[in-house]
Homo-oligomer: 335 residues x 4
């Protein structure tokens, strides 16, 4: 971390600031230019609050050199993390497809879709029981009853299940869920993240709608700092001015994450685009960019889906997608 | 709501879609162009899920004509809502300034600041006990102990208090809090919003970092739909590509909200800019744009503040600000 | 186009508006809801200025149903356009890689790079002579002298050349250039677009930093409306709040363009990311998403490059990239 | 400027880089941390191309400490610049309102509006003859004929005139124009900026749709570096995800500019919002934030305006606005 001091800073003030830093166990290297005097902090600066230093009246600017995350940082953990989801591995060369409906609606629906996506080669089943909806008047999910139906589909197919949690108080209901999803709108619900740091179940952490990659990794750090290092990231599009797609899928985030972190990263082209016919090209592009998996919405009757029908594939479309996904995976493995 | 059908839609499919709509109690007006056939829905379309209709294979596009919010809509509630916060009124011509430190740190700190801001004319005292911080290694607030100190400062000064809630399970601790703040990162924490809809305490709902004005009003609608209509909105800057300020304060939101909704709307220039010297010009601009109040961070020793020091005013700076705020308010009242 | 009228609109005013529309040769279909009355315009609405209608005091809102572009619209031109650049075809299954340095610096540099990229399989040579630089103190390009060097490299290798124009007055210098590039910052330099519409040389139109896909197609329409239909689009990243990459590459734009337009679309991963090591994964992702070509920066000595060194590949890196690009192309052709 | 070196950088490479810097007349201060070695550059770094240094394989990162602009920088020019537009002063306490129609349409229209806005107290007359329109099918302005009509209105009223230039080749037509406007879409049309740097006429430089404040000041620097220091900045809204207004007016830019630069800065609430009724509250807010002037669209018959009718005020509305603007100005002058 580099502290740029104001020209008019007095020696006594500078010494006080330096003492404050060394009291935190940091070393200091000074350098002086014509117009600027600079303090370089040496040591573990992830604990230092930049804005606290900015508040000092003699400070012109503060710039971070080291990343503010440690546990999620590839520098301190060079090997890819492989997350084990009830026997299904994600990361470090293990590619998985999570598939299923946006919402769990009926026993027939979730079981039928579960069987279909399993037969097509999906490794995990998704289905929402708690649904974050913009409108209070939209379908909010079946809650506990939905989770029960999801677990029945798990039993029927043997597929590990993934579903979203919206509040830490619901955790007891998630005991038999294999991978707990934190949705984009809760990426900075820090109370929830802290609670998920205390359990040992894998977490699928979606990127927030307006989160930088650094903020996203900091949210992973919240979970990991609590002791739970089983975090899978999931890029799902960010908010931009473009309206042709629901969000703007940021595939550059894949190589960025791969460089900065050891955590696996998946891509959700269904939510990113909101448009069924765009799921295939962007799924294949995600594989080409190096993603560790995909999350795809599949519904046995999209036109009747209680949520996100426009982006859901039919089981036939998903089967065709999986065929291409598998071939594409094999191709890139040997490229 | 207008449904634009695909050219090749068949009569049987169209009839099925029409039946689905009339079954929801909606009327339908049809119109046919050269290339397009349009169904106009008549009735309460706030309950209709646009994306559900989009999922129908014969639908080209769906466009909303009416706003999706009802209780927050000025059309159905032409008069300004006045929210009563333990006797302090906000909205409908009642202007208030909320002031205090970002975080409650010590008894001396919060009580001293409370006295100072009261003497300068603040109507409500703010102070954070639960702090949403990007990094798990930053100060997270004093939690329950912080709330106790805040309530002591309330007792000492008589100022109603405002503080942020981060999880519905903490609600019992907020019993004596006068105005409960929902922070930007929780604006779409729908489980929290639903719980706040069940209580009768006023809620200060900050705009999310990447929330449209419509989404913000829909979050207010969540609280109001539950029965709690005491919602005050607070603009605090949105995320853009500009980095000269922490966020981009969207003052246009004030006249937009005033047109679309009857709810009071305040402005937080401290968080929006993140820079102390910008608080004054943007506070005055917020008044000129029609805001119903301001939320300003004040700390007795900004350089030692445990959070957000760079944007905190000293009590002296706040006193000078209040002097100008009051004169500006009077000026615009008579303009 | 749909015009939603205000409730209180009077019959005489409505009739005046209807006359204004029918005078432009448009038909009108009316529909009436409980709260709204709607006029649907029938005919060629691409000539209608929505905001002109919005200015009418009886109009509540106007929504476009048909796209505002005609010549660039796939609806009226279902087959892929194939642009012939001096014998090198782009689009309709013809994939090309444009490669070369950001700036033309010396005869040796451009000729050496030209030979290298030709040997690796590039179809076109790029090199900038007029450089749009944020700072007036940065290298601005060699201008006419640079173009001469580029044409020498063309002669030496036989590769058609691509270079950016920054002002219509420079057109005489571009006589022997095979493909004229309009840069992101000039995508809405309408005077330039109009001039390029009058010539018969192919144009490479880069997407503006903050341009929607629709605005980008409207800029193509400017060129095409003038008579020059040889337009190749090039996605090069858009401006968002994310700072980990120089811009955010919007690969979703590829399938969107493919659906809405018949024009070929290439991808420039070098400018989009600004980071050398990200060029390969995003090049492959662009192919997977359906791009008709790539534009890649190559320099024989990136560390000494006068511009954009951090994103330039060495000729060796480019050769390795082309090897993968070719295999990936073949794979997706048969998928 | 600070160069952060990679851990594995070798001494010989570091020395080569240091020599490259000292050869440019820069001094170097080194500092070494546990994980990082830092070179601090001392001297005029505005000429240094950060990305050129980034391209060096031993460089981890480069961060700028000093602003990249000099002539526009308040550090080197502490007093406010006052721009004299044919006797009408802008900046340094001189507040002006530019008013007039979006487009010049007829002699009657422009002269009538000119008289009206003069009577209401406008200091300058605006009117577009060259119009940047998204669609080639929209009205493009009257060009040379329009300029003639504008100059007749100038003669009739004595008001200095402001109009937009879209191409440097049109400059001869602008000889009698008092203030030449560079529109948002041309803010980075560097060839145009360079030409405007060679003349001695004042320039009104609008902020680009996606331009950072720093890029905006760099565009001013282009003009100033050429010798023309008569630049007035104009904030007109930036592109964000919010769609309730046409753009998002960034009033924070006013105090930021005031701190960083000595140039006057005006605000255009008409283009920023695109909505007539929002012009007044945001005009007053702009004054409160410290703007040096306003640019407001006025049309004698907005419903018939050939462009931007929805945001144009009638002369009566403008008169009412001016009344409030004058009072607000006086109020803030004495606050």
């Amino acid at each position: 971390m580099i502290i740029i001091l104001k020209k008019q800073a007095e020696e006594a003030q500078i010494n006080a600031l330096k003492k404050e830093m060394t009291d935190q166990g940091l070393g200091i290297h000074e350098s002086e230019g014509v117009n600027t005097r600079i303090l370089g902090l040496v040591g573990d600066t992830s604990i230092v609050d930049m804005r606290h230093i900015m508040a000092n009246s003699i400070v012109e600017n503060v710039q971070r050199i080291q990343e503010p995350y440690k546990k999620a940082n590839r520098k301190f953990h060079p090997n890819d993390t492989i997350v084990d989801v009830s026997g299904v591995k994600v990361g470090g060369g293990n590619f998985q497809v999570i598939a299923g409906p946006c919402s769990i609606e009926t026993k027939e629906q979730i079981t039928e879709v579960a069987n279909d996506v399993k037969n097509s080669g999906a490794g995990l089943l998704r289905g929402g029981a708690f649904k974050p909806r913009t409108s209070p008047y939209s379908f909010q999910g079946l809650h506990g009853d939905g989770l029960k139906l999801l677990l029945e589909a798990k039993k029927a197919t043997g597929l590990p299940v993934v579903t979203e949690i919206m509040d830490a108080s619901h955790l007891p209901l998630f005991e038999d869920v294999d991978l707990i999803q934190v949705g984009a709108r809760n990426m900075q619900n820090f109370e929830l993240l802290k609670e998920l740091g205390k359990i040992d179940k894998p977490i699928l952490l979606k990127r927030g709608l307006a989160a930088t990659i650094e903020e996203w990794l900091m949210s992973a750090e919240y979970i990991m700092a609590g002791g739970n290092e089983n975090v899978i990231l999931c890029e799902r599009g960010i908010r931009t001015y473009e309206t042709a797609t629901r969000n703007t899928l940021d595939l550059s985030a894949i190589p960025v994450i791969k460089k900065k972190s050891h955590l696996p990263v998946m891509v959700d082209p269904s939510h990113a685009t909101g448009i069924r016919e765009m799921v295939e090209p962007l799924s294949l592009a995600a594989i080409a960019a190096g993603a560790d998996g995909l999350m795809v919405e599949v519904h046995n009757n999209p036109a009747k889906a209680l949520c996100d029908g426009p982006q859901s594939l039919t089981p036939e479309q998903f089967d065709s997608l999986m065929n291409k996904v598998n071939k594409t995976r094999q191709f890139f493995e040997t490229l």
